[in-house]
């Protein structure tokens, strides 16, 4: 079982190097991550983007890119379409973005999923590694669906459960989060919880359990009748997967790592393989970790497909 981000790094050394389309690594921090991932044996980069900028960024971090394929392309959407196209055409098992807004990547993935008629709703899975906790916590969807309806949430849960199964957990626990509170009126997010819990019980998402809690108070205190004592907060009560109500909630909560003692890694699990989507504000250590995660999941997705 994969229980921490360090497990990804250990396994990536065994499973790598894998070819990875790196889209617009035109920033030193990203290029440094690509360099380290190559040195660690995780990836063999295929660089896509503005050749001059890529070479300049590589020179700044002392990375000789001459042994690698460099595909020249201009414009965020063109670069994104090219790299994601390579993933979907089976030319390589992983794609990852550099200093390029993620919305371009999502657009490319959505177009290619539609073209492939995979029926897959694209969603972002963000892992949190919390010190002392014996499992990673997935938050989803933290990147694509602005205000997902129940139909979209079904697909988002399905994607996350699929990814969590790849970590080796046969029956992950899922919390469907909502801001509902007593007397606060009806909330769509809570209605969705009720429907998703029923769907999970009917086996719609594969083996998993939707827990009877929709807020962190209910998760950590077992209900609203208790009262928090800081020293007694037990992270062990956290389920494996947290389904957030909407994009705003997901993005705001998952990036609290800037404030907290947690590590964050995100990816999109497409029907053809993982896409690495570090935030443009992430630092190289975090990006290397995210690349390692994609290498391992690409390996496991490949085996699933065999």
């Amino acid at each position: 079982m994969i229980r921490c981000l360090g497990d990804f790094e250990r396994l990536a050394r065994e499973k790598g190097p894998k070819r990875m389309a790196v889209l617009a690594p035109e920033d030193e921090e990203f290029m440094l991550a690509v360099k380290r991932s190559w040195e660690l044996g995780y990836i063999e980069p295929v660089l896509v983007g503005d050749g001059e900028r890529i070479v300049r960024a590589a020179a700044k971090v002392g990375f000789d890119t001459s042994p690698f394929t460099l595909i020249a392309a201009e414009g965020h959407q063109a670069i994104s379409d090219l790299g994601i196209g390579m993933l979907f055409d089976g030319e390589l098992p992983i794609a990852g973005k550099g200093q390029i807004p993620t919305s371009y990547i999502y657009r490319s993935i959505i177009r290619r999923e539609a073209k492939a008629a995979s029926g897959m709703t694209v969603s972002v899975v963000t892992f949190w590694e919390i010190p002392g906790l014996d499992h990673l916590v997935v938050m989803t969807d933290t990147g694509v669906n602005i205000n997902p309806d129940l139909k979209a949430k079904r697909e988002i849960v399905r994607n996350a459960v699929f990814v969590y199964h790849l970590l080796g957990f046969p029956r992950p626990k899922v919390a469907v989060l909502s801001g509902r509170r007593p007397g606060g009126g009806p909330m769509a997010s809570y209605d969705d919880y009720l429907a998703l819990r029923e769907a999970a019980q009917a086996g719609e998402f594969g083996d998993c359990e939707v827990v009877e809690a929709t807020s962190f108070t209910e998760i950590f205190l077992g209900g609203r009748g208790g009262r928090v004592v800081k020293e007694e907060i037990d992270d062990g009560r956290l389920p494996h997967i947290l389904l957030v109500p909407c994009l705003d909630t997901g993005n705001i909560i998952c990036k609290l790592d800037f404030f907290l003692d947690v590590n964050r890694s995100s990816l999109v699990a497409t029907s053809r393989g993982p896409v690495c989507i570090p935030a443009r504000s992430d630092f190289s250590d975090s990006i290397v970790q995210q690349i390692a995660m994609c290498v391992v999941l690409a390996d496991r997705m490949g085996k699933e497909g065999e």
């Binding site: 007397g183 606060g184 962190f216 609290l256 504000s281």
Partner: protein, 296 residues
């Protein structure tokens, strides 16, 4: 300038005591109110609830029905007899419904009630505000304007001269497909035009840029608030409620809060407020209460 829960308690103790009415108090509420009275922060007034401790130096009115106790407490506030409403031990559902009731609740025509959560930062002696963390489910732009105004009124009571505000959204760019980014941009423009008084209002801004000047720099965002935010405004009720809890359960942060924008401030009985901080919550509401019980 107040920078801690202790500072809030001290400031409230220096101000004239406020009448705090609490329907259906339990032993926890009675203990908090007794301490608030002892420190000269509050003149407690209990309606129904647990038996009054012998010799309690404050008013007790009997009431068997917890819902009737809530109604009577609201009447006391609306009639000007009390300055602050404090939730007792009764069902939270009944209290919140009564609070927001269009006829009998605390609302004021043309105003919007909202909950402001207050957190001390762990590494520096400083407070931050997060709003709205309990009342509004899907506030539109007009409501968000009021929500921000409520938080700014509290910030000024805390002595913050030019509060820095981050209007949060999923991304830092204005995207017509993401309504929260558009609302945030408008609030930011209102701030620029002085519509919120002396304050710097930035939005849309994502949480990483709000929390870290370095992250903002890497994204090319230039702003006076990055890494130095006093007030975080969230886009909706789901986000507000969950963020307020996440800071406590993941961040191990302590919190207090109160409802503003009504006839008088109200203190909710929230399970993620530690028992030891409930006195500070009452003090905060007393500090927020203006002459005549409004939160001005």
């Amino acid at each position: 300038m107040i920078r801690s829960f202790d500072g809030i308690i001290a400031a409230a103790a220096q101000a004239p005591p406020r009448t705090v009415v609490c329907p259906d108090p339990g032993p926890g509420e009675l203990a908090v109110l007794a301490e608030a009275a002892r420190r000269g922060i509050a003149r407690p007034w209990c309606i129904g609830g647990a038996a009054a401790p012998p010799g309690a130096p404050f008013r007790f009115d009997p009431e068997e029905d917890p819902r009737a106790a809530v109604r009577r407490a609201l009447e006391a506030v609306k009639g000007g007899g009390a300055d602050v409403l404090m939730e007792g031990r009764g069902p939270g559902e009944a209290f919140l419904e009564a609070l927001g009731d269009p006829r009998e609740g605390l609302g004021v025509k043309g105003s919007v009630m909202s909950h402001v959560s207050v957190y001390p930062l762990l590494k520096t002696e400083r407070l931050i505000l997060v709003t709205d963390t309990y009342i509004n489910n899907r506030p539109d732009l007009a409501r968000k304007q009021q929500i921000l105004a409520n938080a700014l009124s509290l910030a000024r009571r805390l002595g913050w001269e030019v509060p820095k505000v981050a209007v949060l959204a999923a991304i830092e760019q204005v995207n017509p497909g993401i309504p929260s980014t558009v609302d945030a941009a408008v609030l930011s423009k209102m701030g620029e035009r002085g519509q919120f008084g002396r304050a710097v209002v930035e939005g849309p801004i994502d949480i990483d840029c709000a929390l870290s000047a370095t992250a903002a720099q890497r994204k090319g965002l230039k702003s006076a608030v990055t890494g130095d935010v006093d007030i975080y405004v969230v886009p909706d009720g789901d986000t507000g409620c969950l963020l307020a809890e996440a800071l406590v359960f993941f961040g191990r942060m302590e919190t207090i809060g109160c409802v503003l924008g009504g006839v008088a401030p109200a203190v909710l009985n929230l399970p993620y407020v530690e028992e030891k901080n409930r006195l500070a919550a009452v003090a905060l509401a007393c500090l927020a209460a203006g002459k005549g019980g409004g939160n001005g």
